[in-house]
Symmetry: C2
Subunit: 348 residues, 2 copies
């Protein structure tokens, strides 16, 4: 690549305060990555309240036609039902076919509350399950009845399963836990479970995954055991909603959602996204933790081939955390978002 175009979608709340930090970290890499252009793009709940659309077509078109990758901030949720509103991040994942949400969660020594020994990756299927948003409402004998469809396909389960085995193979422990609730959802979660477990028997795999050990767990007991003995997990693969819940649960173990990055990845595009939300309660105060967004930028860069740059950013973040002096309030510190960003960029 001669140059790099990164779509920037800060969206709502602290999304707008942490994305500049990610940008600063990327810029701090200087000439070790191609000349980078940042393209500001519109999306979000606030944008919806102004225009009636949460994700303008133009944003999707620019992402598809002009950008090499993207960073998303966070989106606010309406506090009451709002007709016509639909989450732009859910829509983006589907429209860009970003079928995998990869969420690594790792303890840092800094936080006294964080449990030691957490080093796992949640691989969340990103396009289906209840997130297909096929909902209807009717009126029956006893009042309103609402129904949602939960879709699980062999195709989506297989590609997320393949990715999960691939990631497990790359990690030292090579362990994979398949999350489901097939004791209740024998057909949908049964399909997910069987399809993921069958990945090693696919044509062409040829024993490639022989070193991966596979376990499985019901989602309720997975959350229980995640809290009690997080060290048992390495790679976890889960349908969309379980992955959503599990990654938040895992984030709690390492001390703050403000530390946990992710990428939404497809075969031809990747979008970094901190796992935290728009946090309206602290928005506008310059105290949001920018590290999840900065780490998401690193993951995104690695995904498109700039592993060295990603490593430099991650090492800088780790050293700031290890030192434990310049931290935002969620980690018990007193520093501002901008001070943490400065400290990280200085070390890149």
């Amino acid at each position: 690549r001669q140059s790099l175009k990164i779509g920037m979608l800060p969206a709502d709340g602290i999304g707008r305060e942490v994305l500049p930090g990610a940008k600063a970290a990327i810029l701090a890499l200087g000439s070790s990555i191609p000349k980078t252009e940042f393209i500001d793009l519109l999306a979000g709940f606030e944008y919806f309240t102004k225009t009636g659309t949460a994700l303008p077509d133009e944003t999707v078109e620019i992402l598809k036609n002009e950008c090499d990758c993207a960073l998303f901030g966070a989106v606010s949720s309406p506090s009451r039902k709002v007709t016509g509103y639909s989450s732009p991040i859910v829509a983006l994942r589907k429209k860009m076919d970003l079928y995998a949400n990869i969420r690594p969660v790792k303890s840092v020594s800094v936080n006294p509350e964080g449990k030691p020994g957490v080093d796992l990756v949640v691989i969340r299927e990103n396009t289906e399950c209840l997130y297909v948003k096929q909902e209807t409402q009717t009126v029956g004998e006893h009042g309103k009845e609402a129904r949602a469809t939960r879709l699980i396909t062999e195709r989506a389960s297989r590609r997320i399963g393949e990715l999960a085995f691939k990631m497990a193979l790359e990690r030292p422990r090579k362990h994979l836990t398949v999350i489901h609730k097939s004791n209740v959802l024998s057909i949908t979660d049964g399909l997910f479970r069987e399809t993921v477990r069958a990945v090693p028997t696919l044509p062409g795999v040829d024993g490639k995954y022989d070193d991966v050990t596979v376990a499985e767990q019901l989602v309720d007991s997975a959350v229980y055991r995640l809290f009690r003995e997080p060290e048992i997990y390495d790679v976890m693969v889960a349908p969309n909603l379980y992955g959503d819940i599990l990654s938040d649960a895992a984030a709690a173990l390492v001390g703050s959602l403000g530390l946990v990055p992710s990428v939404n990845a497809g075969d031809s595009f990747v979008m970094g996204e901190p796992v935290h939300g728009s946090a309206p309660d602290i928005a506008g105060q310059n105290i949001a933790n920018p590290l999840a967004a900065i780490r998401s930028a690193a993951m995104m860069l690695r995904h498109i081939g700039y592993g060295d740059g990603a490593n430099r950013i991650e090492r800088a973040v780790d050293s700031v955390l290890r030192e434990g002096k310049i931290l935002t309030p969620d980690l018990g510190g007193k520093s501002k978002t901008s001070e943490v960003v400065d400290e990280v960029t200085k070390r890149i």
Copy 2:
């Protein structure tokens, strides 16, 4: 009542080892409750493997026609898809219209791992959501496609909401958190949220719930905050699957699933059930924690009007826990199931 008939459904694994403890605790109440008869009833995965049915009609009929209440043990889940099998506990909840699953979770001082300050009740809707088990599978262009229906009705949401407000009002803090994911499921979870929130405006309520403060949370951040600041919760009300996950998560905070009781309650029947599963890994060793089952028996007795008996059982359990000498291995102890049962019954 002249006499009390309690249906006993141990089902699988440690369910069979903990239910005798519950029976012993009830018997230890002596003449302070009516003469009690225990009726052993069949159900479970093992029963299914022998007979092809997991919940015989006879069991349901005896429960309906002869029993005043019941105790359920735990049910095993098949490790592979088994045609024709369907969870008997899910079926029982529906067939007996036990629409509320009430799961109190409270810290005890004994466990060093347990977070202090947990004192909450998860009120889980028990009859619908994805547990309606309406699943289909078709074959599309790209392979198998499975669909499940998630049903949320106004009626079920209202009755669980009414119960939640009632329980919140009875507790010192009078705080209620409504759990949903209406940022994605705006119609189904939207209906749940709006219906529960509207309970105080129902005809006849007349300001009864004015003292209850209501908050709400998305299920993913509810799990996150449950782990980080469990003290913010008092009563939580949730659709079926979220309630399943949340109650296991809360159990992790107090040190062991082996401590957490529940009742499945309807307008005319109640069935106690420890929150833990059948734990095949420790079954048959006489080391399962009987306290969740014993506490479930107490909750069941309170529900049908024997509050004094319930208090006596609960005080005995609490004193064994506080003393911390006779504990099963899940709590770091070395005692057998039967030793814990003896210790509790001695103190009743």
